[in-house]
Symmetry: C2
Subunit: 212 residues, 2 copies
């Protein structure tokens, strides 16, 4: 009981009168931005709407972001992390003794599943003009490069070491292309067993094409 009495002023402060300072507004705005992006795509990420939902004035955003582009950039960054996680999850479910090609294909599936599962967020990501993403070691592309390296070692495909980057780009292009086409492109209405078939054909073609 006494603890309840002691907590009373705190309750008043958070429920009836909100504090002047939010606490960590930046993270909150990014969180809401991701939510808006997931609902309505990149054009739904409005600075004013985010501020409104965060219970804050529009100009408060400018204490944390130079402008809306920066906010959208932060949202994209978060989305990119989620994409990477989706890829890694898919890869990590492949048996350790499976051939390396299986891992590459699993990464592609993870990419595609993320795109289909969270179309709007993926559209937001794909519409990005700036993707610094120079986390090098942790970026999805770096991971893909590593997987291609696995292909080399197993000689499932003969890939010249200097051309590893090129091979990764070819794979990335195919996966990104089919993902865009099936989420916001000409194939976006293809229903779901068929779109997975198209993914599989595209993946198989790309991987097979790495052999000389």
């Amino acid at each position: 009981m006494s603890t309840l009495w002691l907590r009373y002023p705190f309750v008043v402060n958070t429920v009836n009168t909100k504090p002047y300072h939010h606490g960590n507004l930046r993270e909150e705005m990014v969180r809401i931005g991701v939510q808006l992006a997931a609902e309505g795509g990149p054009e739904a990420v409005s600075l004013r709407k985010i501020a409104r939902r965060a219970g804050v004035s529009p100009s408060a955003a400018y204490r944390h972001f130079p402008g809306q582009d920066s906010l959208l950039g932060a949202v994209r960054h978060t989305a990119a992390d989620a994409l990477g996680r989706s890829m890694q999850d898919a890869v990590s479910q492949v048996a350790a003794d499976a051939p390396a090609a299986e891992r590459v294909i699993a990464a592609g599936r993870g990419y595609f599943e993320f795109a289909l599962d969270r179309r709007m967020l993926f559209r937001c990501l794909a519409s990005g003009f700036e993707l610094p993403e120079q986390d090098s070691q942790d970026s999805p592309f770096a991971r893909l490069l590593e997987l291609v390296g696995g292909l080399e070692r197993e000689a499932l495909a003969v890939v010249d070491a200097a051309a590893r980057f090129d091979a990764a780009v070819a794979l990335w292009s195919a996966v990104h292309g089919i993902s865009v086409l099936c989420t916001s492109g000409a194939l976006r209405d293809v229903p779901p067993p068929r779109n997975r078939e198209l993914l599989e054909v595209t993946l198989a073609t790309a991987v097979r094409g790495l052999r000389f």
Copy 2:
């Protein structure tokens, strides 16, 4: 001389006092929209700006388009036509007796060159959520399907007839993917002999991957 005198009132009517009715405003607005898109990408296609440049009030646009989305759609349609022309030009420059694979690769090059050459317009195209494009016979994809058919006939690749569509999708994905990556994606800063190398690797990989 007399003809000059006869034309005089007409000159006055077009220069000093503009006519109340534009003539064919719709086409003009689409033309200006394409121009704006080519300069600043899809977000630069503003209904009001187009109306201003056309010398017309903003609400006039609503006599020809239900809304801005429709206007942007018309702009995209025009851009898509240009893309198709770029592909066809590239294909038609291949010698008639060249192997069919050459034609497929040429189509991919035409696609890519359009994307690089008119980045903003291509971004506008790629950001499109709706692409009806059910012109069937004339659409770029239909043409690609035909080219893949050529591949079958020459047995350069063994493609089951029922899987021709899938093969075309795989090719399309690779070409679209590398185009997006090199224009607005992670590879957009790769300078121009290198990005063509990446294109060639991607194209070769995709075509080679169609063999079983």
